[in-house]
């Protein structure tokens, strides 16, 4: 379908009332279903969207500018506040890029614990995304169950790092402190508990005819579209391309674990939904293996210098966050503050295809589609 520009949409001869009968509807920035402060200007022909323009910047918090004003260690809290639902994975990228630049070794135990905490965070993030999306579609109950499971994960993570949402658990060369027996036993107990819950979610939500009618066939995203927009994460895996940074650019201890990448070829919102549910199961597999094989040893490299000064040059590091590929491009000039920090966030790339993909969609379907992209708006605006 040809993507109409705003002028073409407003003058469309195909609208029900005749030419120039389209109207402009404003979605947001305060809206219960945009998952943050996103504004979308929609040119509507009745119930159908002729042109969508996303206006961002309502939660722009200057992270990249702060990267130039903070030392490397002072920037750690910023990384948690980008996509706060998968904060561990974002901090992982920051410590990863600095460790890559300074060639800091990370002990094996710390790598395993990083993997375990990142995967727990991924499950928590998918639960929130799933619950909020089903709530947008009108199913108000699953979010209560999702948040309940998430509280169990947050109890585990709070026990080791003290925070519930914006963890700052990783440090350059390892972790801020070691895990205790409570965490290990609690995680071992959590895995079978979550598997039981997934069965319940499949029976009541995934197989629910109302949900299936709402999201099957909605929001078709082709592989070519994914490449042109740089879409990643469940969006690209729901369109048939098996791309996951944990397998494409293996980092940390992911090479040691046996897990699959869920891929579905159809490219609609249902496949993105199924990718996320399957990813929860794969994360449980990784956690099981990592907890069973957790090596002894130090939790941080004792030889990390107090003041980090990476050699001058460009470095990048990518991690697979819950929403997709998160990349940090660091330009260092040899001092203890970065020269330039570029944060490539998955939600920006995923949302950028909204304008093309929502052409001709009904408004309610566009809401379902936005939920399937699983957006966190501060991730876009940084």
């Amino acid at each position: 379908m040809k993507v109409l520009s705003k002028e073409e949409a407003l003058a469309s001869p195909h609208s029900i009332g005749g030419p120039n009968e389209t109207f402009v509807l404003n979605l947001g920035p305060q809206h219960p279903a945009t998952h943050g402060v996103l504004r979308v200007k929609l040119v509507m022909d009745g119930e159908f969207i002729q042109h969508a323009e996303c206006v961002c910047g309502y939660i722009h918090r200057m992270h990249e500018k702060m990267g130039e004003n903070r030392t490397y260690a002072q920037f750690l809290p910023n990384t948690s506040r980008l996509d706060y639902l998968s904060a561990m994975q974002y901090t992982h990228a920051w410590v990863g890029v600095v460790e890559r630049a300074c060639k800091i070794e990370v002990p094996q135990r710390a790598e395993y614990i990083r993997v375990i905490t990142s995967e727990l965070n991924r499950i928590a993030s998918h639960l929130v995304g799933w619950g909020a999306w089903v709530m947008d579609l009108g199913g108000l109950t699953p979010i209560l169950y999702a948040f309940d499971d998430r509280e169990k994960i947050l109890d585990l993570l709070e026990g080791i790092c003290g925070a519930r949402l914006t963890f700052c658990y990783y440090r350059f060369g390892g972790l801020v402190n070691d895990v205790d027996d409570n965490f290990i036993q609690g995680t071992k107990a959590f895995v079978p508990y979550m598997r039981e819950r997934l069965k319940m979610y499949k029976a009541f939500v995934t197989d629910n005819i109302i949900l299936r009618k709402r999201i099957e066939g909605i929001g078709m995203v082709s592989q070519d579209m994914c490449r042109r927009y740089g879409a990643c994460g469940p969006v690209i895996r729901g369109s048939g391309i098996a791309y996951d940074v944990r397998k494409a650019e293996p980092y940390s201890a992911y090479r040691d674990f046996d897990f699959d990448i869920p891929v579905y070829p159809q490219g609609d919102s249902m496949t993105r939904y199924l990718v996320r549910m399957d990813e929860i199961e794969q994360s449980l597999r990784i956690i099981e293996q990592a907890i069973a094989k957790l090596p002894e040893g130090p939790f941080i490299n004792p030889k990390v210098p107090r003041s980090i000064k990476p050699p001058a040059g460009d470095y990048t590091y990518a991690t697979e966050a819950a929403r997709g590929r998160f990349l940090i491009r660091l330009v260092s000039n040899g001092t203890d503050t970065p020269y330039r920090v570029k944060l490539r966030t998955p939600c920006l790339s995923n949302l950028s295809l909204f304008e093309e993909a929502s052409q001709g969609m009904m408004l309610a379907d566009a809401i379902a589609f936005m939920g399937s992209l699983d957006l966190v708006i501060p991730d876009i605006d940084r």
């Binding site: 961002c56 490449r227 927009y229 397998k247 001058a312 460009d314 990048t316 790339s349």
Partner: protein
């Protein structure tokens, strides 16, 4: 269809230029360390590259010697840098480079602007990733700091539309041919460019 780094190096070679920004010297003089040459690329890439690269020019009055200039198309050690291939092209050639990337099945990762105030240059780095074989390519170009212009690649990769708007917001780099170069993250009436090194914050109040 999945390309190799050497194949891409050969294709990007005609567009590349040996353009070297000496990095600002660190505040304390550091002892000069010999920098190891990068891993030798395949034959056709290397021959053309070494023919085109300029010898490292020592920067006068700098307390420390900057590292020698990168070759215009350089195959990098992924574990050290995070990219497999780093190429420096002329600003006019970024569209052709993007078309090469699209033809080989790459996806656009991001577009980064860097302000080299001391050298009077702006740098734009285009990052690409390949969804099938995980290759990472960075293509960079350098332009004048004030009133710098580079053609838009949003005709090739539509995702670059927003990345270029953001780079324009932060640095004031103009992307010629862009369909909608209005502020993206900054307020609609913003006239300031916050990530320039001479930005003090007063113009935003």
């Amino acid at each position: 269809m999945s390309p190799t780094a050497e194949q891409l190096a050969a294709e990007l070679e005609p567009l590349a230029v040996a353009d070297f920004i000496p990095l600002p010297p660190p505040p304390k003089p550091a002892p000069v360390k010999p920098v190891a040459a990068p891993a030798a690329p395949a034959a056709e890439g290397a021959a053309a590259a070494t023919a085109g690269a300029t010898a490292p020019t020592p920067v006068p009055a700098a307390p420390a010697t900057p590292p020698p200039p990168p070759k215009p198309v350089q195959i990098c050690d992924f574990a050290a840098k995070g990219v497999n291939l780093d190429a420096c092209v002329r600003p006019a050639e970024v569209v052709a480079a993007a078309q090469i990337m699209l033809r080989h099945g790459f996806a656009i990762d991001t577009v980064t602007g860097v302000d080299w105030m001391a050298q009077g240059l702006m740098e734009v780095v285009y990052d690409y990733f390949h969804p099938l074989n995980g290759l990472r390519v960075a293509i960079r170009c350098r332009l004048a700091r004030d009133a710098g212009e580079v053609p838009t690649i949003s005709g090739v990769f539509q995702g670059a539309n927003w990345h270029e708007r953001e780079t324009n917001d932060f640095f004031g780099i103009r992307f010629t041919g862009h369909p909608n170069l209005t502020p993206f993250l900054l307020p609609e009436d913003a006239t300031y460019h916050p990530l320039r090194k001479d930005f003090t914050g007063e113009s935003a109040q």
